[in-house]
């Protein structure tokens, strides 16, 4: 087994799932939240030449998606190192 002990294995998976949950909450909030469910309300706010809800739906959500994956990558690489399960 790659882990030092069973506690490590459980803790690693738990930290992974907690990171996953946080990032997916953001993923849901910018697209389904800001871009769809609350788009009409946010459209009352002007953001440069955009209505805010429209901007999230056609631009903003996509930028956040890209950022989310790179954040996940960095955090997971650190987590792998912390538990000694990274690849050589």
């Amino acid at each position: 087994m790659a882990f030092r002990n069973d506690e490590d294995k459980v803790a690693y998976w738990k930290e992974n799932l907690s990171l996953l949950t946080k990032l997916l909450v953001v993923w849901f909030a910018v697209s389904f939240g800001a871009g769809i469910l609350f788009a009409d309300a946010l459209n009352a706010i002007q953001f440069f030449g955009f209505k805010l809800g429209f901007w999230f739906a056609q631009q903003g959500a996509i930028y956040v998606f890209v950022a989310l994956i790179f954040i996940y990558m960095a955090k997971m690489n650190a987590l792998d190192k912390k538990y000694g399960v990274n690849e050589d």
């Binding site: 993923w27 769809i36 469910l37 440069f48 429209f54 631009q59 930028y63 998606f65 990558m73 990274n86």
Partner: protein
Amino acid sequence: MDIQTLTFIIVGGTFALYIAIAIWARAGSTNDFYVAGGGVPPVLNGMATAADWMSAASFISMAGLISFMGYDGAVYLMGWTGGYVLLALCLAPYLRKFGKFTVPDFIGDRYYSQTARTVAVFCAIFVCFTYVAGQMRGVGVVFSRFLEVDIVTGVLIGMAIVFFYTVLGGMKGITYTQVAQFCVMVFAYIVPAVFISIMVTGHILPQTGFGATLSDGSGMFLLEKLDQLSVDLGFNEYTSGTKSTIDVFFITFALMVGTAGLPHVIVRFFTVPKVSDARKSAGWALAFIAIVYTTAPSLAAFARTNMIETINGTEMQGTDYASAPSWITNWEKTGLIEWEDKNNDGKMFYSGDDRNEMKVDRDIMVLANPEIANLPAWVIALVAAGGVAAALSTSAGLLLVISTSVSHDLLKRNFAPDISDKAELMYARLAAGVAIVIAGYFGVNPPGFVAQVVAFAFGLAASSFFPAIIMGIFSKRMNDKGAVAGMLAGILFTASYIIYFKFLNPTGNVPENWWFDISPEGIGTLGMMVNFVVAYGVFKMTDEAPQEIQELVESIRYPKGSGEASSH
């Protein structure tokens, strides 16, 4: 030099490049043929994934579609990008660690069941054929417009090129040609968009020009102007849509989950050397895709404003047909623009009510954009090369999945487990060849239902693969019976709903008849839920997965010890 000659030179040059790459990257083993030897650098794999993903439809039709849909176009923009977040966070790294060649491989091994494997193989083949028929058609359309050969010749040329580098190079050849195709495609998409953005708003970046003031001296924001024009002409406001919120929600979700479950996208993550590379290359893939997907809505808004002002004139009184710009008469010949002078005043007028005299095809928005903006001839040639690159790269990726499914999943893992690597490679090449011929046939004789079955491809991927893979990774006790029952229930539910509204009762395909206001495009989301619920119910009534499978699942949850992808 005229446009015709330039187009031949630029498109011909890109073809020579693809062929040269194919010869350089020949496949020597099934490992090369299926997963490019597992040694593709993550950034290059990101480019290849982006090219694989962005099809002729993305390149040619998406911006036009959005410009006619306004806000509702967001379902495609978010749906086809948000799936990559799911892919990067929940699927790609684990599947890479698992280390097999195909999606049915994972499903078959994880659920220790030939039935599960077979269901997955047929889903994979169906999804890929649905897609590839449309791609070959895209090649034909681009050729016939820009090179003025007929569609059949266009499809045949496209088939020959794809045949050459897929059969010779397999995944290895495809990967490196896709990298080249990505560069051609993005350059061809961005250049006209930048020109048109500078023209309309003075901004170099289309993404900021989208929210800027118009440079016509009015001081109005582009979107403000577009909203006003739309309302005056009897359309809906551009920044609010016509679809119900729940339908937008479900379609977006189905497209996201479907994207994450598409076999030709998933398989790209088997080609990188390490698990951490799978995460990284998903990030790069989405970054590269985002370049096009954030430009598309800007382009849509510019093109729509431009088109309305060209046809109706800046005073919105219509313009004389006699003095119409040449692109209108050029594209009239192809039937993509039609004008009928209903009030006999000799003027063209475009609107959303009964004053309308124009029929404008949405595909024109990207294809005619360089002409509308009066760009130099080489830009028009570049757009042709980009359209062909988009269609070729996606078809090659799909054809590879089909050939792998036949030679590896059906033959090697089902009927003839003892065949040698060499024989398997030969069958893979043979299967790729046959698949290209079938795809070409559909390209020349397109079934009338291509547009309808795209909803099918996403719906099926969303309701079958996605839940099965997610449960396979995140629930180590999920068993074979649960997974198979879930997949079958998900597929049957989704397929019946789509078949009913698209084929059996197309006239009844209106919101009043839909369940919970959900259109057939969005039903995959509900299908996915059905899959999860049924799988969990059956799982609760049967024995949990055996100990060795649970250990297998635990071992794919951390990166250490990932070897190269293998068949063992």
